[in-house]
């Protein structure tokens, strides 16, 4: 539809809201934002600016060797292909490193340490070398044993694999590469009109 021209808002939504309110001619007035301090008596709020979330310096959990191993494991689960980058490019290991570094769950941390150790034990058994130094086929072979047997949750390496896959998926599909390159997500932008089956999409063409 000609009226439906999605505007990419990744740069600055607030700027866009300001400039386009007149153009659209809708009741897009200043957003009421309330002062952060807890007030006892309130009246209707005056418009003001929101502040961006402050970035914290991320905590770390992995040793450099563990980080390299998680990098390879995550890439084995979601590899680069001719469509888009993989977990390595999406820095999934950094995401997991931070999540574990900030976690209070000691049992989970212990599972990761033990799981990473057991993966290298498996790799020595199947490939005769560490996971990081294994060939791409060798890496796949080790992860395949875990994935094919992911019902055997009495084993710590299987429980580790389930967590590894869960966090790799979470980290990858919430990354720029996962959202924009891999899935080519079309939403999260302002539209003039709702989009439906009569406007676009394979079933209507």
């Amino acid at each position: 539809m000609s009226t439906n021209d999605p505007t990419d808002l990744r740069q600055n939504r607030r700027e866009w809201l300001k400039t386009s309110a007149v153009a659209i001619g809708a009741s897009l007035l200043p957003l009421p934002v309330v002062a952060a301090e807890s007030q006892q008596v309130e009246t209707a709020p005056a418009p003001s600016q929101t502040k961006p979330v402050e970035a914290k310096s991320p905590a770390r959990f992995f040793t450099p060797a563990q980080h390299a191993l998680v990098d390879e494991l995550s890439e084995t689960i979601i590899p680069a292909d001719n469509h888009s980058g993989g977990a390595k490019a999406a820095k999934v290991a950094d995401y997991i490193d931070q999540a574990l570094g900030e976690s209070f769950d000691d049992a989970d941390k212990a599972l990761w340490r033990e799981g990473l150790r057991l993966v290298d034990v498996m790799s020595q058994h199947y490939n005769g070398k560490s996971f990081v130094n294994s060939s791409p086929e060798g890496k796949i072979a080790v992860v395949k044993v875990l994935s094919d047997n992911d019902h055997m949750t009495d084993l710590p390496e299987v429980r580790f694999f389930i967590e590894l896959k869960r966090l790799t998926v979470r980290g990858y599909y919430t990354s720029k590469i996962g959202i924009h390159d891999e899935l080519e997500y079309k939403g999260n932008r302002i539209l003039q009109e709702y989009v439906g089956c009569d406007d676009q999409g394979p079933a209507s063409s």
Partner: protein
């Protein structure tokens, strides 16, 4: 706009306890009648746009949109096995949240479970103590009830009829539609009356397939009827129209307030009249009573931050604290004249507690959409609503009443289908190819109002403010479980008929409370022996006491309650203002 201070020596015309859908509506209607109103809200006023950040990309969030590591939100398994305060394993989680508080965007909206304990049977009790209450997180489905609901007893003999008919409330549904905005499509269904709709959302291709298949079965799928203004509201400067942006599936509020919430839709405009005073951080402890007249005289509350006690006075007290909190407050308000709690000569306060049962549903794939280029399916306030079809013309042999389905389909920011087995290039491709083909729906069914399902006060456990906790005596019954079986079977049949590939069929019933539609604890009725309120939500016992939230419902129907809560409240507050002027209160 003049700044109003809380004046504790003044006698207000009305005190409204609670600032959610009901409290906000009471404030709007009463201030527009010129009454001087004090609103008490137990929680804080949050910088809500800063909380919701509706268009934040996950990679710009320090936790990718999930809860910070010092917080934990309860899971279905934890609700099933454990009781509050939920036992070992959570010691290091500084904040414990109900299941819905599982994202960084809602963490300050829902309460800390430990500060707000309750006892008894398992219940997923979702509470939002902040200005606007649960309207900050509501799912937006805005449906009307009909005489199939108000006069349900006439149809199947169960329970009680409401003391009103559809024709009594219809003009007020219209007022709510026009004042707050609602999107949808007219269907002319006798059991689900149409609203005065603004521009509708559009169905995507999988939904059109399902709609056409259902039409052959005589069933109706319609665009999600969302309490969202799609055309804008000229009379409200605090709300924007909907711009079809993403992240609506987060169901975590809307930072441009296209989706209704009580503060921007009702409370700020009420403040602009100059007749509303708001006091946040004010936990109501008891409704005080004049020992001579037995009438309500005001409210005793505790400042949630300083723990200091206050009492304020008013000619009328309006309870709108949410179905369960309102019942708790009435039971807490015991006095010489009202030994069982206020407005409770019938003994029905806390009883007839009902809601919606949910859990059963189906997920599948529209096979013709697998592998097709990505489409834009996101950014609608909701997908579709599949209306009730049981016990309308024919009687179902196994259960009474009905259920409807809420559903959605297509691509979302975080893809569906990542629970696929395997790994590697094949897994990645499978997720990519299937992402736009997803279609799923889940049922919401009526839980019968039963006297034996009730809440009372725990004799021992108290909350952070020293106020006795609520104790639950509440379980789904046989009718609900038989209905849940049928939900699962019909969901599967309907997806099969539409030609969808079925990925998962769920028969699991979620924990009591999961629908966040608790209702009925102070029901209306014409008989003061079997009901708490009259048809204007006015206490039979105490003429200047009104309970205007979901607790007044006589049955739950299967439609989502917020639009009915607000329409009833508007009607009752018109009556209240009139009676006050006549000197009858």
């Amino acid at each position: 706009m003049a700044e109003s201070e809380v004046n504790l020596t003044k006698t207000y015309d009305a005190i409204v306890i609670g600032s959610g859908a009901a409290g906000g509506m009471a404030a709007h209607v009463l201030t527009s009648h010129g009454l001087q109103v004090l609103m008490l809200e137990a929680g804080k006023k949050l910088p809500i746009e800063k909380e919701l950040r509706s268009m934040e990309w996950p990679y710009d969030n320090p936790y990718r949109g999930q809860l910070p590591p010092d917080s934990h939100s309860l899971s279905f398994n934890e609700y099933t096995i454990r009781n509050p305060p939920y036992g070992p394993g959570f010691e290091k989680a500084k904040h414990l949240k109900s299941y819905i508080g599982s994202t960084d965007y809602l963490k300050n909206i829902v309460v800390d479970e430990r500060e707000n304990p309750f006892t008894g049977t398992n219940y997923a009790w979702v509470r939002a103590r902040c200005l606007g209450g649960k309207t900050n997180i509501w799912g937006r489905l805005a449906l009307r009830l009909s005489d199939y609901d108000f006069k349900a007893k006439d149809r199947d003999g169960y329970g009680e009829n409401w003391p009103i008919s559809y024709s009594d409330i219809a003009p007020y549904y219209d007022k709510v539609d026009l004042y707050l905005g609602i999107t949808g499509v007219k269907e002319n269904l006798p059991y689900l009356p149409d609203s005065i709709f603004q521009r509708p959302t559009k169905l995507n291709c999988a939904e059109v397939t399902l709609k056409e298949s259902l039409a052959k079965m005589g069933r109706v799928l319609t665009q999600y009827r969302a309490g969202v203004t799609s055309d804008g509201l000229k009379h409200n400067k605090y709300r924007s129209r909907c711009y079809g942006r993403g992240a609506c599936e987060r169901k975590g509020g809307c930072d441009i307030h296209a989706a209704f919430d009580s503060p921007t839709g009702l409370i700020y405009p009420a403040m602009d009249t100059g007749n509303l005073t708001l006091r946040t951080n004010s936990v109501a402890r008891e409704i005080t009573v004049d020992p001579k007249t037995g009438k309500a005289s005001g409210v005793h509350f505790i400042d949630s931050q300083t723990m200091k006690d206050y009492t304020v006075h008013a000619k009328v007290v309006i309870v709108a604290a949410s179905t369960l909190e309102s019942a708790r407050l009435l039971l807490l308000s015991k006095s010489h004249l009202h030994p069982n709690g206020l407005a409770n000569s019938s003994g029905h306060v806390g009883h007839n507690f009902c809601e919606h049962i949910m859990g059963p549903g189906v997920a599948g794939r529209a096979k013709n959409l697998v592998g097709k280029p990505p489409t834009l399916d996101d950014g609608r306030p909701g997908g579709f609503y599949l209306t009730r079809f049981r016990n309308l013309a024919e009687k179902h042999p196994k259960f009474i009443r009905g259920y409807g389905f809420e559903g959605g389909s297509g691509s979302t920011m975080f893809p569906r289908g990542t629970d696929a087995h395997g790994f590697g290039a094949a897994f990645k491709e499978e997720v990519r190819k299937n992402q736009g083909a997803f279609v799923g729906m889940g049922a919401f069914g009526e839980v019968l109002a039963r006297y034996e399902n009730y809440v009372d006060l725990d004799p021992v456990v108290k909350d952070k403010w020293g106020i006795p906790a609520l104790r639950f005596h509440y379980k789904f019954g046989d009718n609900e479980h038989r209905m849940a079986e049928d939900m699962k079977e019909t969901a599967q049949e309907m997806f099969e008929a539409a030609g969808f590939e079925i990925v998962h069929v769920s028969s699991r019933v979620l924990t009591e409370g999961w629908s966040i539609h608790e209702l009925g604890t102070a029901r209306m009725g014409s008989d003061s022996k079997t009901s708490v309120l009259n048809e204007f939500q006015q206490s039979h016992d105490v003429k200047n006491l009104f309970v205007v939230d979901g607790s007044a419902f006589v049955n739950a129907s299967c439609q989502n309650p917020t639009w009915t809560i607000m329409s009833l409240c508007w009607r009752s507050c018109d009556y209240l203002a009139d009676e006050l002027k006549k000197g009858n209160l």
